[in-house]
């Protein structure tokens, strides 16, 4: 109850029990199956998980970019500043997208339209959402490019995407996302396609943005290092569900879910040499043939009969640390 009250006042974004399903020729895929997330104003939420866990679909659902066919949002709520985005008309959603919620994608090489200059593409957002004239929009575009650290912005604004490097393009994407000063920036694997030195640049830039504009960021990534560096809070996803949620420090130092724990241990760390890496056995099941009970039970070393029968709910274990497990760890790697 207390928590509920807190949410109402303090969450910028609250995703409740979101269900997004894809209907493909091969069958029904419950890509997101009851995901609940929260993002507070100015906060960075890291969403981690392996491929196919539904993290990107969650982001696209929030943006209203799930197209039918094949995708369909079948349940839940997406409250943004208290309003349910799922109840919005397409026009209303358009006014929010790119304006109050912006998104950047993984592939800076393909996410920009090759036939328009970057200035056009940034300016377009301003023209549409803010009613700028073309000239004003171009001026503002230069300013935005400068603010994301692109040198010679006046020249760059007239260039086409293919004339830029990947890092530069991702900066352009960020500039475009920031154009309307959004409250929430969804970054879907923003640095995955970039080299590590460029990744460092972009991560610095995002931190800087967060500080300068107070933009809340929902950072989706599979890279635990990136999450650790960027996120205030972390949601760990597995097979369309959030399995663990908590502050970054909690998640990394005291993981409660066997999956999170396994994930952390199986990642080689710079400067820490281990003879042998920890292994999470098996592979992620095909979502069309989901295991019953806890979705992780077939790979979990602690799984019991109960885990195979019944699915645990996301439950608070320690203040604001929640976990979806019958046998959560004690935070030091031991089963409670």
């Amino acid at each position: 109850m207390q928590q509920k009250a807190l949410k109402d006042f303090s969450y910028l974004l609250e995703v409740k029990d979101l269900k997004t399903t894809f209907y493909t020729s091969d069958g029904r895929i419950p890509a997101v199956d009851g995901v609940s997330l929260t993002v507070k104003p100015g906060e960075t939420l890291g969403v981690v998980g392996e491929s196919g866990c539904g993290k990107s679909v969650t982001a696209l659902s929030i943006m209203g970019l799930i197209s039918y066919p094949p995708g369909r949002i079948e349940g839940g709520q997406i409250l943004f500043e208290g309003e349910d985005l799922l109840k919005k008309s397409p026009e209303e959603m358009r006014a929010i997208r790119g304006n109050r919620i912006a998104m950047i994608f993984q592939e800076p090489m393909t996410s920009l339209n090759p036939v328009y200059t970057v200035g056009d593409q940034i300016g377009e957002v301003l023209q549409f959402h803010k009613g700028y004239t073309k000239v004003q929009a171009q001026e503002k575009a230069v300013e935005l490019l400068r603010s994301v650290g692109i040198p010679e912005a006046e020249k760059r604004v007239k260039q086409y995407p293919h004339e830029m490097s990947g890092g530069m393009r991702q900066r352009v994407m960020i500039a475009m996302a920031l154009a309307c000063d959004p409250k929430l920036l969804i970054a879907d694997e923003p640095t995955t396609a970039l080299d590590v030195t460029i990744q460092a640049q972009i991560l610095e830039l995002m931190k800087d943005i967060k500080e300068r504009f107070g933009t809340a960021i929902m950072l989706i990534t599979h890279d635990l290092g990136v999450v650790a560096e960027m996120a205030d809070r972390v949601s760990v996803m597995y097979l369309g569900r959030v399995v663990e949620e908590g502050t970054a420090s909690d998640i990394f130092h005291h993981p409660r879910h066997p999956y999170t724990h396994g994930l952390l241990r199986s990642t080689p760390r710079l400067g820490q040499v281990v003879a042998r890496l920890h292994v999470i056995p098996g592979v992620v099941p095909n979502p069309m043939f989901m295991p019953t009970g806890c979705k992780f039970n077939n790979r979990c070393e602690y799984a019991t009969e109960k885990c195979r029968q019944e699915e645990p709910q996301l439950a608070t274990v320690d203040g604001i640390h929640s976990v979806r497990c019958f046998h959560p760890l004690d935070g030091e790697g031991q089963v409670i």
Binding site: G52, Q106, P285
Partner: protein, 305 residues
Amino acid sequence: MAVAEKRTSPNNLDQNFGGEALTLKPESYVRMVWRRFKRHKLAMAGLYFLLAMYLVAILAPYIATQDYRAVDPPNRLKPPSREHWMGTDHIGRDIFSRVVWGSRVSLSVGFVAAGVAVTVGTVIGAVAGYFGGWVDDVLMRFTEIVMSFPTFFLLLTIISIVERSIFNIMLVIGFTSWPGLARIVRGQFLSLREQEFVMAARALGASDARIIFRHILPNAMAPIIVSATLRIGSAILSESSLSFLGLGVPEPFPSWGSILNTGRTYLRYAPWITTFPGIFIFLTVLAFNYVGDGLRDALDPRLKD
């Protein structure tokens, strides 16, 4: 390197949710294509139609009610009746029997012509694409030259100078329609030869022939098959166009095109002569197009994982 995780987009789900695919029952590529193909209802309808046509062609001697060559002038230009299901032509030949036998001629013209085009196109495209360099240059210049001739005139010119037999017609239609495919195949080879599985085969010490036939060609088959399918249809149409100009399959062999051409003069008062072969050409080409379309969908590399 740049690619760490396959991106998730709504259209790319097969890949991302591939997961423990082994829980699915084992499925060969052919079977998968067939499963996909079956979903395309019109393509299936087309396939059934074509199978039926091929059956007719094979069983022509048993299906045809009369000798397709037998002239019966007193019974000329008779409308469809119990005796002549599709009527008779200008010298009293039974249209039904001719259409039945014509399916043999037309389908084999289509098949052989397409076969020739596909063979020539594939060989030239494959050699050019695989070996590259000056071989590619020479072959592609040659392809461009052939391509540059206005196709139908080239066809006409050659047809008008060779002896007009079914065989020659097949060959000429085939030999004038390969360049498009050669380019497609070349493109496939150019991109496939850079694929890692080809590199792996080379690392194992596989010979060029092995790489071409075992590794690249099977993966380049999709556009070849689709193109072959569509080409059969267009070869049938080409033959009928030649027939229109009196350069098609010679009498007394009936091709649908030549029956159609015979009936052209009598279109007004003996429409049955043209109607039936016309419909069969139309339906057959349509069926090939739909099957081609279905195959394209089924073989589409975008959907392939």
